[in-house]
């Protein structure tokens, strides 16, 4: 069969389409964005009637997916690791309700923080929820796991997590497709109280989840995804989880590895393989991308057993993603000296695009705040976070989606006045609305700037849930109409905009400024497409 050259994300998306998935729900977040984008762009998915939605946030996405599972159909919800924090309530409780139609939580971690604020390891969440976790080591495995994941989910009526990392998500390789499966028909859960988590029912459901644990373990122990490879040198046994297996093999170009190896791609950890490895070998090296979760489990609190090596004892770097070199060093291979980076090189951090509307907004904001002491701008997650860097240096915080408004309120309550919140349109509908309601209810003295570029910019221009709704939402929350100001962030309007910024910053109460101009990237893309269509029409 013809191989498709797919990103890990795309392999997962194509697998969903082929495995009889009926709906996929997500909020964009690097490195998970391309999964839902792929399904939305797929003609095949459209023909099969697969619903592919960008939702307001990861929580609404996860709950919608759970609803589809309730109705008996297969579904996936995709998010980046910190997105799972937002969806955590739905996620953890979905392990208690269990599933009806197969449901996969696809979570993309970002070790080394290429595009994120932390490198939290979603396997902790999977363990916390007590559900099976699948962790592919390559694109083909990622593809196959979606089929397997749906089967596992429907076999035990339980959500399944697939955990990937940036490197797999954004790396391309050949993938062979499986034959297409039919979608499930709509069908209710056998027990109509399964999803009613009243304490009396939840206790029963939780007991069922606990009782399933040995079965999940048995499944892991028998899974073809977990393999024990023999090795004659028992001085060390190696556990390689997910992608770590590739970095291990890269260090043995002839594949002549002499140590026993357990390749782990399904959790709970396969006790049979791990126990055998521990019994046969003098020491254990754990290779895992993300946190030292397996290492910690093996080591235990008192660390009384055989030597367990990994990130905790410094054999492998404690932070950052794995690569062939840090794994090689962990294996004791001397790393050859390489060419150096010439000292004259300058760093080239990402920056706001030429013509970006945020630039005009930050120039106005900086000037409006000129007369106050610095350090009073609370911001959020998006392209505009780049304004923390020179030449703007406008913002002072970036914590989590929506934290701009709420932190500004807290600081204003503490007496830091004026306090300004800056966030994007999509971030506002993701998690800013409830914070603004708090501020309105308390009549807090804050100014909220909602940069409306009519898209979710940082992740590549996905539609924004906030489109054409921001003023109405603010009014509905109780922001006074005369303090909802829409401006057009253009250089020629600078003086006028500056005046409005100053007025609203001085106003004692909640005010909202909405600088509105389309993202330069989506605008250019739209113009290019328009031009192409025109050229096409003229050609005919």
């Amino acid at each position: 069969m013809q191989k498709l050259l797919l990103l890990g994300d795309e392999a997962i998306a194509q697998a969903g389409i082929d495995a009889g998935m009926s709906g996929i729900y997500a909020y964009p977040g690097t490195p998970s964005t391309e999964i839902t984008e792929y399904v939305r762009a797929s003609k095949e998915a459209r023909e099969k009637g697969i619903v592919a939605s960008w939702c307001a946030n990861e929580k609404t996405a996860a709950e919608t997916a759970l609803g589809m599972s309730y109705a008996g159909r297969r579904t996936m919800t995709c998010m980046k690791h910190v997105g799972l924090n937002v969806a955590a309530d739905a996620f953890i409780n979905s392990s208690i309700t269990g599933a009806n139609g197969g449901i996969i939580f696809l979570v993309a971690d970002d070790p080394s923080m290429h595009s994120s604020q932390n490198e939290q390891d979603s396997r902790f969440y999977g363990k916390f929820a007590m559900i099976p976790i699948l962790e592919p080591s390559n694109q083909q495995e990622a593809y196959d796991m979606v089929h397997y994941g749906f089967d596992l989910s429907e076999k035990f009526r339980i959500p399944v997590m697939i955990r990937i990392t940036t490197r797999l998500a954004h790396s391309r390789a050949g993938v062979v497709r499986k034959p297409s499966r039919e979608q499930n028909k709509v069908g209710l859960p056998q027990n109509l109280r399964q999803f009613v988590l009243l304490p009396a029912i939840a206790r029963k459901q939780y007991k069922m989840l606990v009782d399933l644990q040995p079965k999940f373990l048995q499944e892991s122990e028998q899974s073809a995804l977990n393999v024990y490879y023999e090795g004659e040198d028992k001085s060390m046994g190696i556990i390689a989880c997910g992608l770590a297996y590739n970095y291990l093999m890269e260090n043995f170009p002839e594949r002549d590895i002499k140590y026993p190896v357990v390749k782990v791609s399904q959790y709970p950890l396969p006790e049979n393989h791990i126990r055998r490895l521990y019994e046969e070998c003098d020491s254990i090296l754990v290779l895992e991308d993300g946190y030292p979760i397996v290492e910690e489990m093996l080591k235990g609190f008192l660390n009384l057993g055989k030597p367990i090596k990994g990130r905790l004892d410094g054999t492998i770097a404690r932070t950052g993603e794995l690569n062939p070199n840090n794994v090689g060093a962990g294996l004791g291979f001397v790393q050859e000296e390489t060419l150096g980076i010439p000292s004259l090189l300058a760093p080239r951090p990402p920056s706001l695009c030429k013509g970006c509307p945020h630039i005009d907004s930050f120039l106005a904001l900086n000037e409006a705040l000129d007369k106050y002491a610095r350090g009073r701008v609370f911001s959020d997650i998006g392209c505009y976070t780049l304004s923390a860097l020179p030449p703007y240096e406008s913002i002072n915080t970036c914590v989590d989606m929506g934290a701009s408004i709420t932190m500004a309120k807290g600081a204003a309550d503490a007496g830091l006045v004026p306090a300004v919140a800056v966030l994007g349109d999509s971030t506002f509908t993701h998690s800013g609305i409830t914070g603004l309601l708090d501020a309105v209810n308390d009549k807090s003295n804050i100014t909220v700037i909602i940069l409306d570029n009519a898209t979710t910019g940082m992740t590549g221009g996905q539609p924004s849930s906030a489109l054409d709704k921001i003023e109405d939402i603010c009014k509905g929350l109780g922001v006074e109409e005369e303090h909802i100001r829409v401006v057009k962030p253009l250089r020629k309007h600078h003086e006028e905009n500056l005046q409005i910024f100053k007025e609203e910053i001085e106003y004692n109460g909640v005010s909202v400024i909405i600088p509105r101009r389309e993202c330069i990237q989506t605008l250019n893309k739209r113009m290019r497409e328009k031009f192409k269509e025109k050229a096409k029409a003229a050609g005919k």
Partner: protein, 194 residues
């Protein structure tokens, strides 16, 4: 047969099109391939790189180990140098000499060129100018790829076919431009080696 390539540039300069062209040709040649890309925040005018690995045997890691890359193909002079730790001691740097300046502390261009010329194996060409002369600066990336093709052990025809496939949807004009670009770059490189 095994080729490890680092592609370097600035977000938006088209290194992923270079990767896609080589990738498609490699698939046609029946090779295994892994290609790690950079998506997300860095694409906003930051430095970007892609690890492209081709082999007739299965490839383990998505990332190239330090000191193992056969070549660095760079659409920007400073960006190619950033990945020197990945380059084999006798590896090739194929680079555009036209700087992309979007930072205030961009290094002195002469010193930059001296660093490039100090490497035993390098091809340096002003791909922007070549592409402009051919009709559009947009084809700069394909000029640079062209200059790298003598070092890539894949039939040149397969690379040309890949360009036809990739740019075919965007019109015949773009196909012609990019084919000219890859051929001009290739010629430059062959002559530079004489």
């Amino acid at each position: 047969m095994k080729i490890d390539i680092i592609l370097a540039g600035v977000g938006g300069q088209g290194i992923l099109s270079i990767a896609a062209t080589i990738g498609l040709a490699a698939v046609e040649a029946g090779l295994y391939l892994k290609q790690a890309e950079v998506h997300g925040m860095s694409q906003r005018g930051g430095d970007v790189q892609s690890h492209l690995r081709l082999s007739d045997k299965e490839i383990a890691s998505d990332l190239i180990p330090f000191g193992k890359a056969d070549m660095i193909i760079s659409v920007e002079p400073m960006e190619g140098l950033r990945y020197l730790p990945y380059l084999k001691k006798d590896g090739w740097l194929i680079t555009n000499t036209k700087p992309f300046i979007n930072i205030s502390n961009y290094p002195d261009e002469e010193k930059l060129m001296a660093e490039i010329k100090a490497l035993p194996n390098h091809i340096a060409l002003d791909a922007d100018s070549v592409a402009s002369e051919l009709g559009s600066v947009k084809a700069t990336n394909m000029v640079v790829l062209g200059a790298a093709t003598p070092f890539i052990n894949i039939d040149f025809e397969k690379l040309e076919n890949a360009i036809r496939t990739l740019f075919g949807r965007k019109g015949e004009e773009l196909v012609t431009l990019n084919l000219q670009a890859i051929n001009t770059g290739r010629k430059f490189s062959m002559e530079a080696q004489k």
